[in-house]
Symmetry: C2
Subunit: 320 residues, 2 copies
Amino acid sequence: METTEQRILAIDIGGTKLAVGAVDGEGRVLEYLRTATPHPGVTDSGEMIFRTLLGLVGELKTDPAEFAGVGVGCGGPMHWPGGVVSPLNIEAWRDFPLRARLAEAFPGVPVRVHNDAICLAVAEHWRGAGMHTEDMLGMVVSTGVGGGLIVEGRLIDGRTGNAGHIGHVIVHADEPLCACGAVGCLEAVASGPRLTGWAAEQGWRPGAAPDQRTGRELVDDARRSHPIALKALSRAGRALGIAIASATVLCDLEVVAIGGGLSQAGPLLFNPLEATLRERVGLEFARSVRVVPAALGQEAGLVGAAALIVHPERYWSAKD
Amino acid sequence: METTEQRILAIDIGGTKLAVGAVDGEGRVLEYLRTATPHPGVTDSGEMIFRTLLGLVGELKTDPAEFAGVGVGCGGPMHWPGGVVSPLNIEAWRDFPLRARLAEAFPGVPVRVHNDAICLAVAEHWRGAGMHTEDMLGMVVSTGVGGGLIVEGRLIDGRTGNAGHIGHVIVHADEPLCACGAVGCLEAVASGPRLTGWAAEQGWRPGAAPDQRTGRELVDDARRSHPIALKALSRAGRALGIAIASATVLCDLEVVAIGGGLSQAGPLLFNPLEATLRERVGLEFARSVRVVPAALGQEAGLVGAAALIVHPERYWSAKD
């Protein structure tokens, strides 16, 4: 089949790693390469990151002339659909014209850039836990809490390309203050750093080094039945349950797929989430919503980036 | 112009009144008739309501043969798009096949039935406060709290036609219990009956008859600076602000238009709403959201019902 033979250059850009791959028209990752994101801290470092990225693409075995398009997931915020990016965790890129630069490097084929959390949601809808559903929220619970919204089978971008910001749905009445400036956001409760910070305040691992107080350590301790670690995951699950209840009634969702580091906690997170969700949805149509772990692994970002090119009718609402 | 000459039969069905009208292709209401919804309490009363409705249509001066379609807004819940309705406030209609019965009565033209709150939101988008916007939430704050969601210029129905249920977004942590069975819904705080009930508990109009404790009386008392009435509107405004913040980040909204009896309170409601909203949205894209009073009056339901027929490409996503 022709779509199977199609080759898409997929790129996933985060503060920790750069990943590139060749993806076919069915969403299979044929090649995958990654490297650490450089953080050189020199004037020219924005260019240097871009050169590193192109260098990594050059190491792919697929002939660049074969690529029918370039799909990119990148940390936000960004101007969408223009693809001028200012990723929170890549300080050297402030208003970096990523889409335009890639269009210069790969002339004659479509180049599309979207938020990395959007790409993960799109990947889960196309090839993961949300396959065969029309109305899905894909979430990432990690250093931040992000998401993407698929309604009636299509990615919802909204006016500025920012629809799906589930991390800033309000879940608490009077605290805590979120990095965005608002009070009571989901992200201010359930992101890895905020959750480990809360656990530390409660007396979890006093005196431990920062790298021994990560979300992963918290999940490990919860598995060993550490009471504060369990309470922290329960607190995150409760906040997630409230936000998901709100999103479900507003968008008539069928499935919510959750990925990211914290989702590795499994039932220790999903059980309190589920209990809260059931308390918080009453209307018949909403009670059938299902919350499931994301099905794709570390290649999900590339799959979603490729989807922007393979299925623009579903995943790319912009006119250009 | 051809669309101006088009005639749509528009119907608005609530627990208190039935309204019918002839609406043109530009959303102008050319004729409008209303009558009290009968509540006869006999076995045949479902049929009797339907006969009353058809009788009212027969009183319109427009020749029924001129109607190019029939658009209906009706109280929920309903099966959508089938139009089998069970309006909470019309006990004689339980699983009443409204759409099928109207299709029999008006053969050869499209007949479409949607939730009455959806029709109000659609009307505000087509001809009211949301004209020229692509991303809008229309809300009704009255006996209940309902809404409809327009994203990227189109009504979002969702999987079961129930998207837009802003009244069941979670705004409170541990109380109050909502009629839907969930805890902390917006409707459980800000609907007219819940708000007047709360005010009465605080000592508002002790011993007054029920008809002297309506939302309208509460608003009137607030205008006279009654401290509990003011506090009640502030409480509703705060709950609305939280729900609107959540909807804005999730759906990247530009405008929220609020109608219904309680919105008549004006700044006494909108000022605390606005103050809370500003506390609860931090992300740049969301801070530009505007909350405005609905622009259309009592004919809004008919305008929205007609829109289901005139602009199905925007307001009717169902395949049949």
